[in-house]
């Protein structure tokens, strides 16, 4: 188990998605890209992000970075929320859909399309959850 957003977490999550998730069964052959922007990251109150690219249910890219954009990448969706919200999602306390509907996550992109892919993305979230149990307080 590693700390959320660390380099180790990035590697472990990538490995988990590639090895444990079936592109057809778990990821419904989805093709999409997502930039998750995490605000108020402790201890320095910084902004970080991770970029996720899936093609036909296969993981193409999964990168952790700083800031609220990722140069050279044009994600289909950008989902912005604070560290506490992402922590709740990864701890299984709140689903991504509820966070979106409650305004705890802000979405740039089509809400309808986002909700259509939320099921396959749940598989990814599950992977990230499996790889994480350490959070900054």
């Amino acid at each position: 188990m590693v700390k959320f957003l660390s380099g180790e977490w990035n590697e472990l999550s990538k490995e988990y998605i590639l090895k444990k998730l079936d592109p057809e069964k778990d990821l419904k052959n989805v093709t999409t890209s997502l930039l998750a922007v995490i605000e108020h990251v402790p201890p320095s109150d910084s902004i970080m992000n991770f970029y996720l690219d899936l093609k036909d249910g296969k993981l193409i890219d999964f990168i952790v970075n700083t800031g609220d954009t990722f140069k050279g990448k044009e994600p289909v969706f950008t989902v912005t929320g604070n560290y506490g919200t992402y922590k709740s999602i990864l701890k299984g306390e709140m689903s991504m859909a509820v966070a979106l509907l409650r305004g705890r996550l802000k979405l740039k992109g089509s809400k309808l399309k986002a909700l259509q892919i939320i099921k396959p993305l749940d598989g990814v979230i599950l992977s990230l959850k499996e790889a994480t149990d350490e959070f900054e307080e």
Partner: protein, 658 residues
Amino acid sequence: MSNTKVLSTEKISLDDALTIAKKGSHCGMCRFDFLGTGLCPSGKKYGFVAYWPQGRMQIFKMLMSGKVKPTKKLIEIAHSCSLCGICDKQCNFATQLRPEKVAKALKEYTDNLKESEFQDVTEDDIVKGLREIVGEKWATNDPVIISSYVQTIIHPDSELNFYVVMPENADQISKIIKFANRHNVPFMPRSGGTLLSCATPTVLSKAVCLDQGIIIDLLRLKKLEVDAKSCTATVGAGITAFELQKEAYKHKLRANLAEAGAHVCANIASTGITSTWQNRYGWAADNYIDVEIVDDKGTVRHNSDMDIKNPYTTERGFTDITLSPPGIITESTVKLHPIADDEDVVLVPFEHLKDALSMIMKLARRNVGVSLIVLSRKYLSEFLCPTNQIAKDFEYICKNYLKLNYVVDVIGNKDDKKIVEEMAECTIDKSMMKTLILGAPKLASLKDSEFMKVLSEEKNPCKAIFAGPMRKHLEKGLDASPEQIAKIFDTDLQEFFTKVYSKPEMTDIIWLHSFRILPSRLMRQRLFFAQAGMIWAADEDKILKLVDMLSKVCDKYKLEHMLGFILPMDDGKYAFFEYDYYYDHNDPDATIRVSQALIETTENCLVMGDILMVLNYLFKGLYRKEHVLYPIPKGISNEDLALFRELLENILGEKFKW
């Protein structure tokens, strides 16, 4: 203790107090002065829900269930109540409860606690930070105070790991939000709490409640200024509909408002204000000139700011469910409307909904009347009658003897009244409505009488009794007087209620439409869930089919149910409907059945098309109605229905996958 004597002479068992507390429905009628009694002194002084009658009942329930352990604050809460009896008067009018008995039991329970039974509360960094913003008194993490917010913003099964803060202005709210974000603590505003109390027992609970973090209680934002010249009022987020209407009326103006206890700003944001006046006064953004909002970054903005993106538009579509407002409205400048000198009321009784609907839509499209609504006999009975039992008997008479199942209820000028009278076979006027209010107990007592049986044999019983020769006999027989109606209240409250019903406004139907103090009677000792929505009104048969569908689904789930009302909007192009399920919120099985009916009827409405359901317009009240209502929703395909179900499953959890 100064109240020892009272406690020793008027003891109430914990069980009896718990029975009362469990029936509390958080209607919030104890938090504003609608009967001229003054306000609960402790609530006014301390602010937090815990110090109001509704909060004490909730705390008592939580203590008895062991969900919260006593803290030293409990002593202050219990003894801040002076047993003045104001709550009994207010609550008895609205929901027939006696919260003072719970307050007495809470005092006695608290006084008998041993020192070792109190848990310590540690002031952590979050509460310290909040206190630096709002002052020592107005922020807390005390579990007993927190527990008073259960059912209106906190899920009953949640741990009580929350904070409550009571800011007094937008600047403090901005600081609280920035502080919360910096510390990654979720937050949510709370106003009246009644809407959430209706949703909390149902499947919507986990979706609408705060899971942890900071409750921002907006009650202290009490700004209220009427500018009669511009026909506007500026109201803070702590102002209730009743309080605003009272000020507006002083200037012979009227605000378009929800139920008396609803907070104006929150109601604009949540439901856009649904009222009988909305065909004329409008809906959603029609209601206000400007709003001050603190967004989720803590930035204070106004809708009138030039450099913001269009604040009046929103996403549409069946998947667009929003469970929170776009920010916290701290202040709004709302429109007020002049009241005509010749304003009057006229009601038209109907046996069949089809006929009532036809009339109300004709009136709406011709712009006749300022206030228009079709009320079911259920609503009519609940509103007019002082007790639940009298309402039931009254409704029985309407249904079985009078063939009065619906009324078209119109307020307008003398010309409007004339038009309605020409269209109707018989009408009920203002004076008869006063008779029915004061004479409701007597009328209800005629339930099994020969008089009613004879009356029911008339071709048109309503015409015979309200407009024919029998009217005089009815007026005489009902003995409608404040003294008569006061007799149905507990002996110690009868003198008070004689005075209440002697006030002209308490029997003035127009005043009652404006101030809306009666709808909380629907929450008499139990809750209801309103399945509501807006339907494109061009096809009236479709509205009837909708009502039929809602009825059949409720029968399937064995719920007490009935159409509440239908009211036209947007010049009769749309109709707003409310269909209600009544149930005991303490019965887990009933809450599941309500949830099942809610989901099934929502799905059916989406398939039917032309309907915008409550889940799709909730929290969109700040937007322009044209952006919410148009294009007219089309019926969704099976594929889309599957997507909607998936969405609900995501929001509501696996257990609601039926």
